[in-house]
């Protein structure tokens, strides 16, 4: 019996009861579609996280002012400034394995250029801030070293700000007013797109730290030499831990914190946070994969169940086929082929449904979706394996029937 003959027999039998065949395949259809959608979303999220990690720079530590206190109530992190420009200078001076140190402050501002205006955030930053954060320049130029010392009225703007204030025009050299303070656009930063947490990374403006603190009204509110955040770039990934500890020791010493006292700052390792998130995503895909596997097993059991019913129902057909010359192998192949046709057909329908579902999920939500050819091949193999595994027992049972008994049964 050739492969085509076997396939023909299987399809002939399945055509005899189309509704039942489709219902039987439904378990596999849903299982495969679920696997495809889950994996597409999982891989999409994963690749976005990867992009985020590389854009953030993995050798980065963030030092923030710690929780302030108002009476007995503890306020949130950064609520009371405790870090100073001197802390940043001390880190740069005293710590080894540190490549960049950048103090910064951040404030919200309504900005105006000509008759356009826009609400965005303005950050006052040190020179090191740009290399730490991998910012690239699209046009114009970076701040000059003297701009930082002289609190020059210059600004670097992100793509979103540029688009909202200047449209398609060239922005370099134009003037932006931040709370009535005119700032000259020194350069436009290259776009970075959406961040891993859904925020717009391009909706930003940067001014030299001293400009923010001395020229802008909102910045003057942050008193004295205080800054909100110090970003530290570490020379090599292996040094992250020791540098993190060294920063903490240095700051405790400088802030005169008793050995058992509460830190008034915290040091965050961004790579660690992202790694945790990556791990969470991986666990999620594992969990969803497990759910999908269970639904495939349920689908497979459905196939086995119907195939067993089919063997019982068609027992006389089996007896007849044996009488006219079918050997056990041929009977087994026929029923196995039916199970495979159901599961493979279900697999193909499930893949189509899964692709459609991934597309809908991607379009209807902000979830990133990534369909890889590998998962489609895997899904096909999975459905084949389901049919083979769950179809084998009924097929074997059919092949072992005694033709005399089978022909005689009602």
């Amino acid at each position: 019996m050739t492969f085509r003959d076997t396939a023909g027999l299987a399809l002939q039998a399945l055509r005899g009861n189309v509704l039942r065949s489709v219902l039987t395949a439904l378990g596999v259809i849903i299982g495969i579609a679920a696997v495809i959608v889950m994996v597409a979303i999982g891989q999409g999220t994963q690749s976005r996280l990867d992009t985020m990690i590389s854009s953030l720079g993995s050798n980065r530590l963030e030092v923030q002012s710690g929780a302030g206190r108002s009476g007995g109530a503890r306020l949130g992190a950064g609520s009371k400034p405790t870090l100073t420009q001197d802390d940043a200078d001390a880190m740069r001076r005293e710590l080894s394995d540190v490549q960049y140190v950048a103090a910064s402050v951040r404030m919200g501002a309504q900005v105006v250029a000509g008759d356009a205006n826009w609400a965005t955030s303005v950050q006052g930053v040190d020179e090191d801030f740009f290399p730490i954060n991998n910012w690239q320049l699209e046009s114009g130029e970076w701040f000059q070293p003297r701009d930082y010392g002289a609190a020059a009225k210059v600004v670097l703007i992100g793509q979103t700000v540029k688009k909202n204030l200047f449209g398609d025009e060239d922005a370099v050299g134009k003037t932006i007013r931040v709370e009535r303070v005119p700032l000259r656009v020194s350069g436009v930063l290259a776009g970075r797109g959406q961040g891993g947490f859904g925020q717009d990374n391009d909706d930003v403006m940067f001014v030299p730290l001293q400009t923010a603190k001395r020229r802008l009204p909102a910045g003057s509110a942050i008193s004295g030499e205080y800054v909100q955040q110090i970003s530290v770039g570490v020379t090599r990934p292996e040094a992250m831990g020791t540098v993190q500890g060294a920063i903490a020791d240095l700051l405790r010493q400088r802030h005169h914190i008793a050995p058992n006292g509460q830190d008034d700052f915290n040091v965050r390792n961004l790579a660690e946070i992202i790694a945790t998130r990556t791990e969470t995503t991986r666990l999620m895909s594992l969990l969803l994969g497990a759910v999908a596997t269970i639904s495939l097993i349920v689908g497979g059991i459905g196939i086995m169940n119907i195939m067993l019913v089919s063997v019982t129902e068609r027992i006389r057909e089996i007896g007849l086929r044996m009488a006219v010359g079918a050997g056990p192998r041929e009977i087994r192949l026929q029923f196995l082929a039916e199970a495979l046709a159901i599961s493979l057909g279900g697999g193909v329908l499930g893949i189509l449904l899964g692709i459609a579902g991934s597309w809908v999920a991607g379009a209807a939500s902000a979830l990133p979706v990534h369909l890889s050819p590998g998962i489609i091949v895997l899904a096909t193999l999975f459905s084949l394996a389901t049919g083979l595994f769950f179809g084998y027992y009924p097929a074997k049972k059919a092949a072992q029937l005694d033709p005399i008994e089978a022909l005689r049964s009602e």
């Binding site: 002939q12 005899g16 006219v324 010359g325 056990p328």
Partner: protein, 228 residues
């Protein structure tokens, strides 16, 4: 030349050693030559169905030997016996055993997938077999759309599709009225005239009378042979 079917002191025991041990055949010897038309008769429980299953290679004897066209059936495994059935024996059943979801033509062609006939030759061959039993114009009908006599003729066409040496018919007229039964028996006579060996199993003496030779079975033994 040896006979087509050589049966020598065949025994068949079911449930051997148990309380329900049944001695279905006791020392049956029978020889059927090429082109013979024989009937095996007997009341139900006489062992004629057991004998038919053995002749049809659907079952194996407990003792004794059975040679079909020179081949000792006892030495064959289950797959070899299936292939022997395919090549040598055409079955006709009382209840026709047609597959209701297939057309008459598909039913006739059904055994061909287990053989070596190329796909392209199957349809013309099945059509020729249907024409041979006078049903060329019913090829696309389902069994439910055919009369009992027509269904049995479809089944006979199916039995002949692999050009067997033997037609083994178990109560072929049992589900038919006497007129259509006569037509089926006339068809057997014609096939036999064309060189086919026909073995008819029946309890009906009128049906058995169409054969050249009648063997009567009682309690698992062949008790009487009459030739016309």
């Amino acid at each position: 030349m040896a006979a087509l079917i050589e049966i020598d002191r065949l025994d068949k025991v079911y449930g051997r050693g148990g309380a329900a041990e049944v001695h279905a055949l006791r020392g049956v010897s029978l020889s059927v030559g090429r082109g013979d038309f024989v009937a095996i008769m007997g009341p139900s429980g006489s062992g004629k169905t057991t004998l038919m299953n053995l002749i049809g290679c659907l079952d194996t004897p407990s003792a004794g030997s059975y040679r079909l066209d020179g081949v000792d059936v006892a030495t064959l495994d289950v797959t070899e016996r299936a292939h022997l059935r395919r090549d040598k024996i055409g079955f006709v059943f009382q209840s026709f055993q047609l597959l209701s979801r297939l057309s008459a033509l598909e039913n006739v062609a059904m055994p061909l997938v287990y053989g070596t006939v190329p796909k392209a030759e199957r349809r013309p061959r099945a059509l020729a077999a249907l024409a041979d039993v006078g049903l060329a114009n019913r090829a696309d009908h389902r069994p439910t759309e055919l009369s009992g006599g027509q269904q049995q003729r479809v089944a006979i066409a199916r039995a002949l599709i692999n050009k067997p040496a033997i037609l083994l018919a178990d109560e072929p007229t049992g589900a038919l009225d006497s007129k259509t039964g006569e037509e089926v028996l006339a068809l057997f006579a014609r096939l036999r005239a064309e060189g086919l060996t026909v073995i008819l199993i029946t309890h009906d003496a009128n049906v058995a009378a169409h054969a050249d030779r009648q063997h009567v079975m009682r309690d698992g033994e062949l008790v009487e042979t009459t030739a016309r």
